[in-house]
């Protein structure tokens, strides 16, 4: 086999980022290019507009009824910061507790290593089928592809993940991966791909959910191995937690003989008490419910109840490189609620696919470039108008706009050769640092009046980058005098 070896992933402060050639953290085109296609998809725009407006309203309602929301938010932020400051110690404690309760802990430096560990564990059981609980970490590392490559059948069991899998699509939202599909499109996918589906199936969401129930029921009952992610892992007790709605998670966490949980190292929390904060913040921020229908917690193995073999895979895959950035590390505080996606005016219009990573939206725009090294996702930090709506709703108060700005600077400062943009900004900076030079530049701007030839706006035909503006917006003709000149003439110095 002549597989092409992807170039090595970049290194940040001596720490390796997520490797290239595996997983789903990198897109094939830049955000502006991908967005250009997505923005033309009227159905997508309508679906997303409807869905995000619905969830925004629900979230706002259930958050408003919590009188101590801001205190919970501050506590959530502090717990996460405290966890990161002692991450190594908490992971060692977690490992000790899980092991003491009959589980086995594995460590994975990156996606390839995690995929290899899980594949070997599944193969050791002799099964050919794996049921999966929706998990961002396994999406990130491309686990399904790795398992399928050795001939295993992988069944996503979350309804939205199932829609994506059956539609041979990719997820576009952290919480609702099929948010870009409407009921009619989902009905079409089910009718086409589910064997023996009721030919009378309509696009009623209840009927569609029931079709999924029927389709998966038998697989749950015969499954011998399940793979899950984890929302939280408690270092002091070894307690793992999965937060879900449909009961597919409970099926996977309860019925098979073997459970394999893949978890990013940043998901650990120090104490059981800490969950009292996150179990209030997460459901209200994500689905806009007071509490999600099901939260399961388990520590190791319980005789006579649930899987009798439990493996925990602790995944780095670029997380330690994120941790090394004192500003950017706050991105590791994310609890994957997706509230930032739902309020983001950019996400609402482009959808998640434009981001090219399993982590879309504002959090994706700061997380993906850090996991891969900013040069591999260089357009993402710019995929925001910095409106700040994401920061406002983040349940752990991640200052996403400030991190976006920080990553833009990291990108600019990493450039080997100055770009035309950099030269322009440097010249402008010099001018704005010296009043006499600045007045010269302002006088230069007045040359625009020649181009305008007496009209109130400039013509729309300009070369890039100005064309970016003038393609859709008129640019006013510069005035004859600046404000400072006018004022000084009227009032003296």
């Amino acid at each position: 086999m002549t597989a092409t070896v992807p170039p090595k992933a970049p290194v940040f402060l001596g720490l390796p980022t997520a490797p290239r050639g595996v997983g789903h953290l990198r897109g094939t085109e830049s955000f502006p290019d991908a967005a250009r296609h997505e923005l033309r998809n009227g159905q997508l725009r309508a679906n997303l507009g409807h869905a995000t407006a619905t969830i925004r309203g629900k979230r706002a309602g259930v958050v408003a009824e919590v009188p101590d929301w801001e205190q919970l938010r501050a506590a959530g932020k502090a717990i996460k910061a405290a966890t990161m400051a002692r991450l190594d110690e908490h992971l060692v404690s977690l490992e000790r507790q899980v092991t003491a309760r009959g589980g086995t802990v594995h460590w994975a430096r990156d996606a390839n290593e995690a995929n290899a560990i899980v594949t070997a564990l599944v193969q050791a059981t002799g099964t050919t089928e794996v049921v999966k609980v929706k998990s961002m970490a396994t999406q990130e590392i491309g686990l399904n592809e790795a398992l399928e490559a050795v001939g295993l059948d992988v069944f996503e069991t979350d309804l939205a993940e199932l829609i994506v899998q059956l539609g041979e699509d990719s997820p576009s939202h952290i919480l609702v991966p099929a948010i870009h599909k409407n009921r009619a499109e989902i009905k079409e996918i089910f009718a086409r791909t589910i064997p023996g589906v009721d030919p009378e199936l309509t696009d009623d969401p209840r009927q569609l959910a029931m079709a999924a129930r029927t389709h998966l029921r038998e697989r749950f009952l015969r499954a011998r191995v399940a793979v899950s992610g984890a929302n939280f892992a408690v270092a002091e007790t070894g307690t793992l937690s999965v937060v879900e709605s449909e009961g597919n998670g409970r099926m996977c966490l309860t019925l098979p003989q073997t459970l394999i949980t893949v978890m990013g190292i940043e998901k650990v929390v120090p104490t059981w008490t800490d969950l009292e904060v996150f179990l209030q913040l997460l459901p209200r921020s994500s689905t806009g419910e007071r509490m999600n229908p099901y939260t399961s917690t388990w520590a190791g193995v319980t005789p006579g109840d649930g899987p009798q073999e439990f493996h925990l895979v602790l995944l780095d895959n670029g997380r330690t490189a994120v941790l090394a950035d004192e500003v950017g590390r706050e991105a590791l505080h994310c609890i994957r609620c997706s509230a930032c996606l739902n309020v983001c005016p950019v996400y609402e219009r482009t959808g998640g696919h434009a981001y090219g990573s399993v982590y879309p939206g504002p959090i994706g725009a700061i997380l993906s470039p850090q996991l891969t090294g900013v040069e591999d996702n260089a357009s993402l930090p710019y995929a925001s108008s910095l409106c700040g709506a994401c920061y406002e709703v983040c349940p752990v108060a991640i200052d996403i706009p400030s991190i976006l700005v920080h990553l833009r600077a990291e990108h600019v400062e990493a450039q080997q050769k100055p770009t035309a943009e950099a030269l322009a900004f440097r010249s402008l900076a010099r001018a704005m640092s010296h009043p006499w030079l600045w007045h010269l530049v302002q006088r230069g701007a007045r040359l625009g009046r020649l181009i305008a030839r007496g009209k109130p706006t400039l013509p729309s035909v300009f070369p890039p980058p100005i064309s970016g503006w003038t393609r859709s917006r008129d640019l006013p003709t510069p005035p004859t005098r600046t404000f400072v000149q006018q004022w000084t003439e009227e009032h003296g110095k």
Partner: protein, 209 residues
Amino acid sequence: MSAREEVLARIRTALGEDRAPAPAVVRDYRRAGDSPADAALLALLVDRVEDYRADVLRCGPDEVGATVRAALDRGLGEGWTPGTVVVAPGLDDDWRPDGCDVDDDRPAVQLADRAAAVTAVAVAIAETGTLVLDGSPTCGRRALSLLPDCLVCVVTVDQVVAGVPEGLARLDPVRPLTMISGPSATSDIELQRVEGVHGPRQLFVVLAG
């Protein structure tokens, strides 16, 4: 170097030699101690559970058995067969309808052909309408409250707390816990909530006392 050693070494590198001290966590959110379950708290629990479109049946401490039967009447239709109902092994004898099956160490998947299950709970959280089952004999193993399509949970008033912090404080974190807030549900299609997917499609809460 093993993956374990390497990941731990990377973390130490990332945090640096002179790592910043962990910030203090201020817990000034509501964590009130156990308050007695007064009428308002119980009303809140009922309101929140019903908001998830689960049914609540209230009864006196001595009427639990009859109320459980009434719940099963609603869930399965009158004239249900006792043998299709399975109860947690430690469930109070007075609460168990006559002729019901008691869960034993049969393979969990066999519970899938039972129509309904009856369990107690460990804690009920009023503000979020959450029942917590802890795998003890009265609550049963996790599959019991998962596979039968109709679930009846008996809550006694002394088990009701106001908020999540009080609820978690009463629980043992190393037991397998299941927190249940209404019937299984999904919002995956156009973010419209649909009750009833893989877990029980019907949830009845018998609130006793």
